[in-house]
Symmetry: C2
Subunit: 146 residues, 2 copies
Amino acid sequence: MEKAGREIMYSVFRIQKALYRLVREDATRVGITEVQLIVLYTLFKKENIRLNDLAEKLNMSNSTVSGTIDRLVSAGLVMRETSREDRRAVTLRLTEKGREKLIEAFNHESVLVQRLRKIENEIEAADIEKLLSIHQTIKDILLGEE
Amino acid sequence: MEKAGREIMYSVFRIQKALYRLVREDATRVGITEVQLIVLYTLFKKENIRLNDLAEKLNMSNSTVSGTIDRLVSAGLVMRETSREDRRAVTLRLTEKGREKLIEAFNHESVLVQRLRKIENEIEAADIEKLLSIHQTIKDILLGEE
DNA sequence: CACAAATAGTTCTTATGCGAATTATTCCTA
DNA sequence: TAGGAATAATTCGCATAAGAACTATTTGTG
């Protein structure tokens, strides 16, 4: 395989793992899993989203999301409601308890939030911009938008 | 949460998913899973590696790797051997069949290999270097090496 | 309008993926 | 050197993660 490409690949894998580990730390602290926390956050950012759209946003299959939502509903953190416009569809919403859980997870104790802040402080804005732009190029090439 | 940090996080997640999807394509073509293919590749690059070291290299727990190796052994692609120096340890090696499978996966048909090559061709070497260096900084911050 | 095609979710099966407990072996030190 | 601490791997339980098959609706086309 190609050397530079391989290095980029490994480098991305490593960062992703490190990020996931920090998310897991916050999630575990409040008694849920990292994926559940990411789902809560996404629902917080976008209310009344459909399961399909949530799955797409998270880059996950809807079978996976369906199962995760099952567990969040059982835990009383999320509500499932049949959409009135389309009775096939399901819309998802945080419960009050879910909202509280989310806020608790990303409070001042959150190492993830601290580290993300540190990244913003220690890396120059121009470099961050450069990084995101190269990432975009890479993503486009990987997805085959030529 | 912090805006730029969040963007970087999402951007990494997206690239990781895109990469995984391409690895999966090659893996599926030869009848194995993406993780199994990554393991075969790692064993190809480093013969007679211990399970522990393999897990560390892949950033996975050894319970996960142990299970994956189970399936690769069942499929006749990998050999497990008790280490002579340390009888607690297990060393792993590709079988001939495993080596053939790996070569078949990453042959000229491989979209992943093509795309990685394209990344090398279309992104300037200086930019790739810059990218890897920023990645390193981010990884260090995330892992808390302050 | 009828009815096939498309769409939204769920369920099933298999494979990760992790932490905790367990087993086997080796290391270390009183 | 005996026996506990440390280490390497496996096993177990649970939660992703994806694709395929399935159900329930809605859409599109003659």
